[in-house]
Amino acid sequence: MVHQDVVREDGKLTPDTFAALLAWLDDGVESNGERYIDVRRRLASYFDRRNRPAADDLADMTLTRVAITLAQDGVIATRPPARYCFAVAKYVLLEDLRRARRLVPFDESRATEATGAASHGAAAAERDAREHRLDCLDACLQTLKPEQRELIVEYYAESRQKKIQRRRELAMRLGISMNALAIRAWRIREGLMTCVRECGNRR
């Protein structure tokens, strides 16, 4: 039985329940919500790799269930918290497979892209979208600090043979480990991708 003090009428967690979830995921190390974002991203990727179209919705559903259990039982003993989240996620996946109900909205604009004369327009639209994506990326790159730009250029530049060596040297130059460098580069890249996506949505 789910009470109103756990989940609101719109299906979202109450602020108290959500705060309890964040604290539980942090597992004693304050992350200002970053741990929640990270676990949610991992869950969404897991569902996506299992070819579930509504991967983000399933990740949210998983974390909502965990939060409800936490609110109702007061404690979840499984450690680390992500392990319990994954166990719940497996059930959410099975349920979704059984339902075979996919919730990703169909992109209506694609429906006309290959029917007769409309396909010419669709090809142009595809080019426009690509151009717009590049414009967005330009704008998003401008928001980076110079050292961030330098880092991703150095980290991700094309190089077939020397990639590992170049990254190792970059890590040494910055005085950080290879792992820390990878995480730093990935965060900048993910930030850019989010920025480009939001820019595209504003179009």
Binding site: K90, R102, W186
Partner: protein, 305 residues
């Protein structure tokens, strides 16, 4: 709640193993262990993110080995979420690769400016080639000259094509559009013979279904897309070319058919659109006036007989 054996971490993680996991090439048990580790284990999660980005970058830069590239197209690109990742990577790689030569602004603005003109030029070349051929046959003379001209035009077309990847993509699109224009209106659900039955993809560890060309009879190839459930009244199938990530053909909205084997959506895809490579069929469904929903992707490979 959690019964299977966790991923063993007494040996260093192998990037190749992570790539195999991302491409759906691991046996189910092992993939399950990676599934768990990708959520639970911070190090695996971080490594996986890095390996995935490098894999996608290698794909958009065309440096992936051919077998991995094929697998990438038939497996990784079946997800809209991952396709978005690839689209971003294409722009990102271009910006990063051009940065040292042209910082702070990215060198690329001449490409879109040239594209329309180059596309028109390519179309004109195709039309001119066809015109030359027609003239030479009708007049019964000058065939060799015309062919020579045509060969020169072809060489010119190849030169143009080699100028940049964007132009190649534009030419391929034009060729596909011409092929489509020559093809009668598609998507009649009157499928005479099913050449390939495709199952819903939840995790691909087996081989991708293969269609051999040319199929027996007619100018179309029949596909039956098996459904988990018949929850919609109407369905639409789109043929996606992973190399351009574009939908090159789309059926009308049609009903599902039931048989002893279960429900399926049957479509006849114009043979002229298919060449030896991987494709996916994207299935969408809708009921009444409601919004359509993406149901899934069905991958297959076309080979020569």
């Amino acid at each position: 709640m959690d019964s299977h054996k966790p991923l063993r971490r007494d040996t260093p993680l192998d990037d190749q193993q992570l790539i195999r996991y991302l491409l759906g090439l691991l046996p189910p048990d092992e993939a399950d262990r990676f599934d768990e580790a990708s959520v639970v284990d911070d190090e695996v999660a971080a490594r996986l993110r890095g390996v995935e980005d490098d894999l996608v970058d290698a794909y958009v830069r065309r440096t992936l080995a051919i077998d991995l590239r094929e697998r990438f197209e038939s497996h990784y690109l079946t997800s809209p979420r991952r396709r978005e990742r690839v689209a971003f990577a294409a722009a990102f790689a271009r910006a990063v690769d051009e940065a040292p030569r042209s910082a702070p602004s990215w060198r690329r603005r001449w490409i879109p400016a040239l594209l329309p003109a180059l596309a028109v030029a390519a179309t004109l070349l195709l039309v001119a080639s066809a015109g030359l051929l027609f003239e030479s046959v009708r007049l019964g003379r000058g065939l060799s000259v015309a062919e020579g001209d045509r060969a020169a035009l072809d060489r010119r077309a190849r030169d143009l094509e080699s100028q940049n990847a964007d132009l190649r993509a534009a030419n391929a699109e034009i060729a596909r559009q011409l092929a489509r224009a020559r093809t009668p209106a598609a998507a009649a659900p009157d499928v005479q013979a099913i050449a390939l039955v495709l199952l819903p993809q939840t995790r691909s560890v087996g081989t991708v279904p293969v269609l051999e060309l040319p199929p027996p009879h007619a100018d179309r190839v029949g596909f039956a897309l098996r459904l988990d459930a018949t929850e919609f009244n109407r369905y639409q199938v789109g043929l996606r070319d992973p190399t351009s990530n574009g939908v090159i053909w789309r059926s009308d909205w049609i009903g599902a058919r039931s048989s002893a084997d279960g429900a399926s959506v049957e479509v006849a895809v114009p043979l002229a659109l298919l060449k030896p490579q991987h494709y996916t069929l994207d299935l969408a469904g809708r009921s009444g006036g409601n919004a359509a929903h993406v149901i899934g992707s069905y991958a297959f490979e076309v080979t020569r007989r």
